[in-house]
């Protein structure tokens, strides 16, 4: 009964996973549809909606930055967590190494996203 209990720090990763899951479920398919099909095919917003100049302006606005940062980083945290826990199902024994790659990858992506968004200026 009296074994010492160590508090799990999983809520951090679980929280990021959950937030990313919600965001990707709500926005993922729509984003693919808009940016991958509708706009390039000229069905929505006109042909140059996603031109370099427009996209740069979008990423330079603080709201656009917040949106891009949330999408990129939370999607990555969601994916990292999901992939880590699915490794067992494809026969890979997930140890500390796999953990470092999955969560480290998400962290790296988050840092790169933050730095590039900041370096674009406002």
């Amino acid at each position: 009964m009296n074994r010492p209990l160590k508090r799990s720090n999983a809520p951090i990763f679980w929280g990021l996973f959950g937030a990313g899951g919600m965001l990707s479920a709500l926005l993922g398919p729509v984003l693919v549809l808009i940016t991958g099909l509708a706009v390039p095919m000229g069905l929505l917003f006109g042909a140059d909606a996603m031109s370099y100049a427009n996209m740069l302006a979008f990423a330079q606005h603080w709201l656009g930055k917040a949106f891009l940062f949330a999408i990129v980083s939370l999607f990555l945290w969601h994916a990292g967590h999901r992939i880590f826990h699915s490794l067992h199902d494809v026969g890979i024994h997930a140890g500390p190494g796999a953990k470092a790659v999955c969560y480290g990858g998400a962290l790296l992506g988050t840092v790169i996203a933050a730095l590039s968004l900041l370096s674009m200026g406002f």
Partner: protein, 249 residues
């Protein structure tokens, strides 16, 4: 008229004598209304008295007859030969538990976990006889009733890949029971139980596979209980940073 028979392959193992478990096949007379448990009882009575397995009620109430039947965790008294016939019935001890003998598993790990969740009502304040009985509304009853149907059959443990990976995990059945007491309006010990819920052996081992709830013969839905407790444990975790040091819990 030739009697219909069905083949039952049973995984036999006596750890004191055998090197490894081996399957042994038996031919058992088949009838429409026979359960797998009845087939095993036939084997024990008529063919091989050395076969060991647990059972008692024969009606999905005692929870002692759980085993792997053709690869799935099932109560053998609630699984009928007619749903498998003419295929062979393959019977093995429950997954993820050490074999004591044949189909009997060692349950010590689960019993230990059961004790750790404090599966009894701990009132917030002591109550005197003069105060009379507790009153509970139907809505309050509904909050925990489903989780109180658990018969400790361990099917959900045999179904849980995360328990298979890490036996330290408190696991679906015990966590559903923990939730049953937390959700009871007469109980005041959720804060005490939170320590275990939020610990490394607690709810966050669950990756929301959901197979536990699928195999549960009593519709307890342990996956739901675990998920509700993930949310409260996460809330509790982040709140704990807001409280001054020394008052945590």
């Amino acid at each position: 008229m030739a009697e219909k028979t069905i083949t039952i392959k049973v995984l036999r193992y006596n750890p004191e004598q055998d090197q490894a478990p081996v399957f042994q096949a038996y031919q058992v007379p088949f009838s429409d209304d026979m359960s797998v448990l009845q087939a095993l009882l036939f084997i024990k009575d008529e063919l091989d008295e050395t076969l060991s397995f647990r059972w008692s009620c024969r009606m999905a109430i005692c929870g002692s007859c759980g085993m792997m039947i053709n690869g799935n965790p099932k109560l053998s008294c609630k699984t009928f030969l007619r749903d498998i016939y003419p295929e062979t019935v393959r019977v093995e001890a429950l997954n993820h538990f050490p074999i004591e003998r044949d189909l009997v598993v060692v349950m010590d790990d689960f019993i230990d976990k059961l004790e750790r969740i404090q599966p009894y009502i701990i009132p917030a304040a002591p109550r005197s006889l003069a105060q009379g009985e507790y009153l509970q509304t139907p809505a309050q009853l509904e909050k925990y009733e489903q989780f109180s149907s658990c018969i400790n059959c361990l099917l959900c443990y045999a179904a849980c890949p995360q328990y298979g990976l890490n036996p330290e995990f408190i696991g679906p059945g015990a966590l559903a029971l923990l939730h049953r007491y937390n959700a009871d309006s007469r109980d005041g010990a959720s804060a005490q139980r939170m320590e275990l819920v939020a610990a490394e052996e607690g709810v966050f081992n669950c990756t929301a596979v959901g197979y536990c709830s699928e195999v549960c013969p009593k519709h307890v839905d342990p996956a739901n209980a675990v998920n509700q407790n993930k949310t409260t444990a996460a809330g509790n975790y982040f709140m704990s940073f807001l409280k001054p040091r020394g008052t945590s819990k």
